[in-house]
């Protein structure tokens, strides 16, 4: 039982990111809108399907790497160098041989466009591919790559849809909450693993402490999500203080929602027992 728990603690942080990489494209379709910037349309392989492909590829890469460790790294590194060379080649070709302004030359370049599509496809696959690889092969590099690619994917969905429009566009806060929960699950999971997986301590007490910490984390994440979403549910009431339709208005309302906690924390920290 203890061994199973230890293994679960070892894989939990990455499982959070892999799970979120699956849930996000299904629950929030906005996650793939960045593709419009890359290829000009949303046509092509959906992000969810890319995540599934990444899962399979991750298992395949782990198998290859366990069988031929040096060769896999060598060919992988060469493939990335090839991508870099492709970009340099595309830049040189488009900037020297293209027509119009520099931006138009880059935007119209087929070589750079195809390079961007490949890179975007890799970013979409990377959270699941590198995540599975880090679990199967125990690779810390792959774990770091999982975090980075997940952040890129999620932030592209969160920022691009808003930044591509001039006004404050309404977005589904669910995207943000899943993103934050996944990141917190990863960070807290690392903490659980460091604290309990290799703990030379009574297993019984260790389990109690772990259960308490997991319980508190879940409760706090739930309360945190309610507090964060509250400003978006209040409606027009805060507009008497500031326009709730602006981001500054929402931020003020959000800070008001969080202020009781801040005051309590300050009091406990300064004058606590």
């Amino acid at each position: 039982m203890r061994a199973v728990l230890q293994k679960a603690l070892l894989v939990w942080p990455v499982l959070c990111l892999i799970g979120a990489a699956f849930i996000l494209p299904i629950a929030v379709p906005e996650i793939g809108t960045f593709q419009v910037f890359v290829s000009g349309s949303l046509e092509g392989v959906p992000v969810f399907l890319l995540s599934v492909i990444g899962l399979v590829l991750g298992a395949a890469v782990s198998f290859l790497r366990s069988r031929w460790p040096r060769q896999t790294i060598r060919y992988g590194a060469r493939a990335f160098l090839g991508l870099g060379a492709w970009l340099v080649f595309g830049l040189v070709i488009s900037l020297f041989l293209g027509e119009g302004s520099y931006y138009e030359r880059l935007k119209g370049s087929v070589v750079i466009g195809s390079w961007a599509i490949i890179v975007w496809t890799l970013v979409c696959m990377a959270p699941t591919m590198l995540g599975v690889h880090s679990v199967l092969y125990r690779s810390t590099m792959a774990r770091g790559g999982t975090v980075l690619s997940f952040l890129l994917l999620a932030l592209s969905g969160m920022v691009y849809a808003q930044a591509s429009e001039v006004r404050v566009a309404h977005q589904d806060p669910f995207l943000s909450i899943i993103f934050i929960w996944a990141v917190l699950g990863f960070l807290e999971g690392i903490n659980w693993r460091n604290r309990y997986a290799s703990m030379d301590y009574e297993a019984h007490m260790s389990n109690i402490l772990l259960a308490r910490q997991v319980g508190f984390t879940l409760v706090f994440m739930g309360i945190g999500a309610v507090v964060a979403v509250a400003p978006f549910l209040i409606g027009d009431w805060p507009s008497t203080y500031y326009e709730s339709t602006t981001i500054l208005g929402k931020a003020l309302v959000g800070l008001m929602a969080i202020s009781p906690l801040a005051v309590l924390s300050l009091v406990r920290n300064l004058f606590g027992r």
């Binding site: 969160m158 934050i180 910490q213 706090f220 994440m221 981001i247 969080i258 906690l261 801040a262 027992r273």
Partner: protein, 417 residues
């Protein structure tokens, strides 16, 4: 109550920084989603910062405060704190010279009343401080804590290990001729009355107590206290040069263990034992006997710290006035880097003291520590040491060359007759 120190973990800093960064980015990019992210992280962090268990009361008790080397001590801790949020971390400070045998001196516990125990092994003699207990009150997510010390430091006294060995008399011993007898509370052939017991056929008639016979109707004989016979003086080399080797096994530690074992046996046989410890300075303990003497000697041996470079010659000169006439002398020294050894032994032998030199070989301790490769420097030192021992033997002293491979039991067999 001791003041508490508060501290924040790197994770707490990271959460705070992330929350603020997302807030600024949300304002710059007019992004609701980044604002939501900022508020979620901020709320979780603040929630955790507001919850902390009450300040716990901690008591830590050792089952014994005096042990011998290699023995264990059990430490029982009781932690009592109010509240149900957060976590408690206790860390009982231990001297680096103590080892954990079972359990851990660090415990992570939920708030409430709980017990924690661990066992400490004492591999090295000395007065080892334990405690106080450091107590940390953590929030539920282990993001920050308040730390304070609880309880007072205690000393664990670790006496040098004593070995039983084969009982007998020291080879150098001889009866003491002194103006008056010394009484010890043991049955023997002295003049002072001790007790009455039943008559046996081997008892002489002049010991029969006739009054007791008249009273009880059974033959009773008187028993008398014994009188001591020998003073033995130990010279212990506690110079820094004797510390070569491991912390727990070096010429000084070997000498101390042998001295403790011999003292115990000699005192049990109604002798008196004195000590001269030389190193940083020369400390003389006059010969003592009877109950309590062993405890006193063990405390002196426990307190020895190898340091300084006083010589055997200076310590003999200083201690001459404390030596009983013709009392046996046991010199426990590696004899390294001391040019006065020959003169000191000649002086003792010349004054009629039967002298026994037990010398743990510092050269071999050093060789065992660094390598087993025989180098010319080692051979020269070894040769020089053998010459010295031979010379001491020729002066009339008895010499025991103690190789690190031989244990204290072996040395005891060599010393006892």
């Amino acid at each position: 109550m001791a003041e508490e120190v508060r501290n924040y973990t790197l994770r707490a800093m990271a959460y705070a920084a992330s929350s603020l960064t997302l807030l600024v980015l949300s304002l710059v990019l007019s992004s609701e989603l980044l604002l939501v992210g900022s508020l979620v992280i901020g709320a979780i962090m603040l929630l955790s910062l507001t919850t902390l268990p009450g300040r716990p009361r901690v008591t830590a008790e050792m089952d014994r405060t005096q042990v011998f080397e290699e023995e264990t001590v059990r430490v029982d801790m009781v932690i009592d704190s109010r509240g149900s949020w957060g976590n408690i971390e206790v860390f009982h400070r231990l001297s680096p010279n103590l080892e954990l045998d079972k359990g851990s001196n660090l415990a992570l516990l939920p708030p409430g009343r709980s017990r924690h125990s661990f066992v400490v092994k004492a591999p090295l003699r000395g007065y080892h401080p334990t405690g106080p207990t450091l107590v940390r009150r953590w929030d539920p997510l282990w993001l920050w804590y308040r730390e304070s010390a609880s309880g007072e430091p205690q000393n664990l006294t670790v006496f040098p290990a004593m070995h039983q060995g084969r009982q007998g008399t020291v080879k150098v011993s001889q009866n003491l001729h002194r103006p008056g007898e010394m009484k010890v509370k043991r049955i023997g052939s002295g003049k002072e009355f001790h007790s009455i017991r039943g008559y046996t056929t081997t008892d002489p008639f002049n010991t029969i107590n006739w009054k007791a016979f008249a009273r009880t109707g059974k033959l009773q004989v008187n028993q008398y206290e014994t009188e001591t016979v020998t003073d033995v003086m130990f010279f212990i080399d506690a110079r820094l040069v004797g510390r070569v080797g491991l912390m727990t096994d070096n010429p000084v530690e070997r000498s101390i263990r042998l001295c403790a074992s011999l003292s115990s046996a000699l005192l049990n046989m109604s002798n008196r034992v004195g000590l001269v410890v030389y190193g940083r300075s020369v400390n003389v303990t006059k010969p003592k006997g009877g109950p309590g003497a062993l405890q006193s000697i063990l405390h002196i041996l426990t307190d020895i710290t190898p340091s300084g470079q006083d010589t055997l010659g200076s310590s003999v000169t200083y201690a001459l006035s404390y030596l009983s006439p013709n009392c046996p002398i046991l010199i426990l020294s590696s004899l390294a880097e001391d040019p006065t050894v020959k003169e000191a032994v000649r002086q003792l032998v010349g004054r009629g003291h039967p002298t026994l030199v037990v010398s743990p070989s510092g050269v071999d301790f050093e060789r065992m520590l660094y390598s087993d490769v025989t180098v010319p420097k080692y051979l020269l030192k070894k040769l020089s040491r053998e010459n010295l021992l031979m010379e001491l033997g020729s002066m009339g002293a008895r010499v025991v060359d103690w190789h690190p491979g031989k244990d204290v039991q072996w040395a005891l067999l060599e010393v006892w007759e």
